[in-house]
């Protein structure tokens, strides 16, 4: 079965672009990724797209060329990029196609998401009672985690401060102003223990990745990065999840734990080998919990690790080196491909001011979203 290589990445920086359609941003990201790979669009065999706001990202072919290729759109909330990468990987592994484009694009214009609870299998009264909100779930999840494992609110502030610090040295970030832990703690309390500056915001942007059969990667690049595995999982009965009206007392791990286990196993790589991680930091609490869920540390070790700077760019296991969701915002369909863009950029040693001192060999990207789906990808160079 062919290995899969990433030979090009492209990013339309995340932020606010009034009047600029999502598909236009998507076309720009696609062009950048193709140019980075040195691949002509007419040589691409298939494509996969992901977006929340745009039902059919494949419509981008009107902008980048009507070549007739198969172009499948996928959507799994915040984990969309995981599903897209998995599908692309499968198509190359089957040998039917050799070169593919994976594209994410979105445009969320201000404010939180609104939706019909019944479209998420939640009852109508759940929405009427004001419970159909993702952020309050994150507050409840980290509050219990802090209780069980002694994580402090100071640790949450440190995570957010790191995100803004990384954003400040990333020319493509949305939030480019460093914020102190004090400023973060003093900002408005949104969902105890999470303050305003501990959250990311929905925004706009696009990201693209060109993948190919690893056997032909050398034609395009001297620095291929290999997509070793992608695993996606939904929640099991007993996991405490978004939009859950109830949860079982029997406790089972979160879907990220299941996805990570499957991804490590498929890659033949253990979490102790990971040198850089991109984790879903919808808020600072999520980054803390996801560190343990993907096996980078044991539950409760985060206080000391983070206080010691282990997750900063010069630390032992840098997390969200480009500022993550907190500094980049989250255009849902594109967010996970921004993670891959950053891993590839670091693994190629091209991250500029935010380059890790030692170019990493093994990276992990993790996504989590409503209504309880996770994706974990392992990359190596």
């Amino acid at each position: 079965m062919p290995d899969v290589a990433i030979i090009g990445v492209g990013l339309h920086p995340f932020g606010r672009y009034p009047g600029k359609p999502a598909l236009t941003m998507g076309a720009e990201a696609a062009r950048l990724a193709l140019a980075d790979a040195g691949v002509a669009w007419t040589d691409v065999d298939f494509a996969v797209g992901g977006s929340y706001e745009v039902d059919q990202p494949d419509a981008v072919v009107a902008e980048i060329g009507l070549t007739g290729l198969p172009f499948t759109n996928v959507y799994n909330g915040c984990a969309t990029a995981g599903s897209a990468l998995a599908l692309a990987k499968q198509q190359i592994e089957l040998g039917e196609h050799r070169i593919g484009l994976v594209l994410g694009l979105d445009k969320h214009e201000g404010g939180a998401f609104t939706a019909d609870p019944t479209s998420y299998a939640a009852p109508e009264w759940y929405g009427e009672m004001g419970l159909f909100l993702t952020t309050k779930f994150f507050g409840m999840k980290i509050n219990r985690y802090m209780h069980d494992h002694g994580i402090t609110q100071q640790t949450l502030a440190r995570v957010a401060a790191k995100a803004y610090a990384n954003g400040a040295i990333n020319p493509q970030a949305f939030r480019r102003k460093a914020l102190s832990e004090e400023e973060i703690l003093a900002s408005r309390m949104l969902n105890f223990p999470l303050t305003h500056y501990m959250f990311c915001t929905p925004d706009e942007g696009a990201a693209a990745v060109v993948v190919c059969d690893a056997a032909i990667a050398h034609r395009y690049t001297d620095t291929p990065v290999y997509l070793r595995s992608v695993a996606t999982r939904t929640r099991r009965y007993g996991a405490f999840e978004v939009h859950g009206t109830s949860a079982a007392i029997e406790h089972v791990p979160a879907p990220t734990v299941d996805a990570a286990k499957a991804a490590y196993e498929a890659a033949g790589i253990g979490p102790e080998e990971v040198q850089i991680a991109q984790l879903q930091d919808t808020d600072a609490g999520n980054e803390v919990m996801h560190m343990a869920e993907v096996g980078l540390c044991a539950d409760g070790e985060q206080n000391d690790l983070i206080a010691a700077g282990a997750t900063t760019i010069t630390g032992r296991i840098p997390v969200n080196t480009d500022g993550g969701l907190i500094a980049n915002g989250e255009p849902v369909g594109a967010s996970g491909l921004r993670q891959v863009h950053e891993l590839v950029t670091q693994m190629r040693g091209r991250a500029g001011d935010r380059q890790m001192p030692t170019v990493p060999r093994v990276g992990v990207a993790q996504l989590y979203g409503a209504p309880g789906v996770a994706a974990v990808s392992i990359l190596t160079r």
């Binding site: 004001g130 309390m189 109830s246």
Partner: protein, 156 residues
């Protein structure tokens, strides 16, 4: 108290001792709330009605520092929810954890493990002028803290 429940089949009403109406799976025995067409654990159809215990403890909680958007239809402020308001996951011992609004609490006295009891509270006045009621959990002065009350961590 009178009033129309916010949804049918959600809690026993009218009642002096209302109970939440859950489902119990005939195949695997898993409980769920509310009762659905299928079992959330094994997928078997037709869980049977199971009245959930009215007393429990707080498993986790958070505050809600901003008013929710549609489809929220309750009142905010005077006579309604305060801002911030509070929501928690309430563990009914040996049964299930239920997500619910918390009433009669403040950030200062909320503690994981504190005893709570089910209450039915006014929610809104509907288009026909009827009072709509819903369920919430309130501090239970007669209850016991859960056995795992010790907080490992401290607030910053």
């Amino acid at each position: 108290m009178a009033g129309v429940p916010i949804a049918d089949g959600l809690f026993t009403w009218p009642s002096d001792e209302p109970r939440l109406i859950g489902g119990s799976c005939g195949r695997c025995g898993a409980l769920s709330f509310p009762r659905r067409a299928g079992c959330p654990r094994c997928g078997a159809s037709g869980p049977v009605e199971h009245l959930i215990g009215a007393r429990g403890t707080l498993w986790t909680w958070t505050s809600q520092g901003f008013a929710p958007k549609e489809p929220f239809n309750g009142a905010i402020g005077e006579g309604g929810l305060g801002v911030p308001w509070y929501v928690g996951l309430v563990e009914i011992p040996g049964e299930i954890r239920v997500e619910a609004l918390l009433t009669g609490v403040s950030e200062e006295d909320l503690r994981i493990g504190m005893p709570l009891r089910l209450v039915v509270v006014p929610w809104r006045t509907d288009d026909e002028g009827r009072e709509v009621v819903t369920f919430a959990f309130a501090p239970d002065p007669d209850g016991q803290r859960s056995s795992e009350t010790e907080e490992v961590g401290a607030r910053a």
